[in-house]
Amino acid sequence: MSYFFDLVIVGLSIGMVYALVAIGISLIYSGLDVVHFAHGEIYMLGAFIGLVIYEKLKLPFPVVLLGSMIVTGLVGVFIERVFYRRILRGGGGYTVAGMAMVICGFGMSIVLQNVAFLIWGARALPFPVSYGMPIEVGNVTLPAAYVWIVVAALVLMTGLHLFLKKTRLGLAVRAVAGNKEIAALMGIDVGLTISVIFGVACALGAAAGVLVGPINYVQVQMGIGVLIKAFAAAVIGGFGNLPGAVLGGLLVGVTESLGAGYLSGNYKDIYAFILLIIVLMIRPAGMFGVIGKVKA
């Protein structure tokens, strides 16, 4: 029973990491109508930037987390302004520009990997932060790292929720996600809001990277697997739906963990996709998705 419990905790925490990346992918999709395929590299970049901040400045881990989110968020805004914006002028979604944007995302993913390779090399670097001693809850002992990942992710998600529901800018983000033309008629600077969406999405991706750092190595290709899992999570939840992305991420994480624990660790990467196929067979638009999307 304790083995099962451990697997669930591990699954939930890795699921939270997928969820953070999936939220970013979903946010960008709902705001810009494109799937951002370089988001795994944003996650990787976030981990490296976190590592640099930690090693150079020796700041406490929560500050490192925030610092990496801010820096990576700004990098995301830069990428969006300089590269994606030009392409997206022609529209997103199923337009030619939308297709070009997908390809541009793949290109950006390769570019970012190589930039990271030139700066940090191909070696897997340790992130020498300890999450501390295991935490005892009743008669169960929980590994601290996994608990803190879940807690940190929950705090970030709550923050995002409050931002979207309670602030003027958050409302503008939702309006732009729903309909850009109407948003402009409300006096919203749509271009600026899209940059905000992109920045927030990248900051969340970076947070995922930094949180995973200490239990994993930081390495140039770490984003590839996570992107695919997070993408599966977003699709399972219903693309563009944020609560769906969280639930999808958790489902993917737990399924993967239980599969690895009870069936075979060698096929760890398959379980998420078996889950994806099953969910899409039953609900083609994902759990919370609506066919013929109604947004905002």
Binding site: L171, A172, A175, N179, I182, A184, L185, M186, I188
Partner: protein
């Protein structure tokens, strides 16, 4: 009634506005003049260019040539959000409210350019005073509102930023006559409180009953203009451009 637009500096003047989408030219030189506090109707059937003109005024499309001067300053090269900040707001059709937001969130969106707490509170209060039903339903999802309530919501949303002038995009579209009447009554109240208004309408009689001055647009140019009372009684005008039914006469009584 004031048709004398030279009495004060006009609120909105457009001169030979030409524009369209892609390479398709829709507006072939539209000139309008709207005085402060005036209610003006822009009339025309489907595909005549009245919606395109509205888009040009609110900045959603850039005119190819011609000028738009609002409150003494040119706005034809400005982005839509800058135009809203100048005090010219387009009231969308009811179907353009955000269905997955609550009624109050939709209203607050209208006050996006006004972060001041007092302005937002005042705007909500004013809107709820004009449309009490919105207050009752303020916590509900907008998608649950009826067509008339959606139109009320959009008018209220337009009021939230306390604009100098509102552009109304077919406030009667797809609504039952009784509801149209109620909405037009409230629009009339809003205007009496000092709003300048340009209303695009297909419901010609209704629009001319409320407006002081009317323009008829056809094939992207102004074909006809004049004081609303003259227009509404002009059989030639009605037959050639406006259509209209006997039932509208009852509406006039009610207004």
């Amino acid at each position: 009634m004031s048709t004398d637009t030279t009495a004060s500096e006009p609120m909105l003047v457009t001169t030979d506005v030409v524009g369209g989408y892609g390479s398709v030219q829709i507006l072939n030189g539209v000139s309008l003049k709207i005085a402060r506090g005036q209610i003006v109707a822009l009339l025309g059937g489907n595909g005549t260019g009245k919606s395109t003109m509205l888009k040009a005024l609110s900045g959603l499309i850039k005119p190819w040539s011609g000028t738009i001067v609002f409150d003494g300053e040119r706005i034809d090269r400005l982005r839509p959000d800058k135009i809203v900040r100048r005090g010219l707001v387009q009231v969308t059709q009811g179907k353009e409210a955000y269905p997955a937001m609550t009624v109050e969130e939709n209203l607050l969106l209208g006050a996006h350019t006004r972060p001041e707490r007092a302005v937002r509170a005042r705007g909500l209060e004013r809107t709820y005073e004009y449309f009490p039903i919105l207050k009752e339903r303020r916590r509900q999802l907008t998608g649950t509102l009826s067509g008339g309530q959606l139109q009320m919501l959009c008018i209220g949303r337009g009021l939230m930023s306390e604009p100098k002038m509102m552009l109304l995009d077919e406030p009667s579209a797809a609504l039952a006559p009784q509801v149209v009447l109620e909405i037009f009554r409230t629009i009339s109240r809003i205007c009496r409180a000092g709003m300048t208004l340009l209303m695009v309408e297909q419901n010609v009689r209704m629009a001319l009953l409320l407006a002081e001055y009317g323009y008829v647009i056809k094939d992207g140019v102004i074909h006809l203009q004049g004081p609303a009372e003259t227009m509404i009684n002009d059989d030639a005008v009605r037959l050639s451009y406006l259509g209209g039914t006997v039932a509208d006469r009852d509406a006039k009584m009610a207004l």
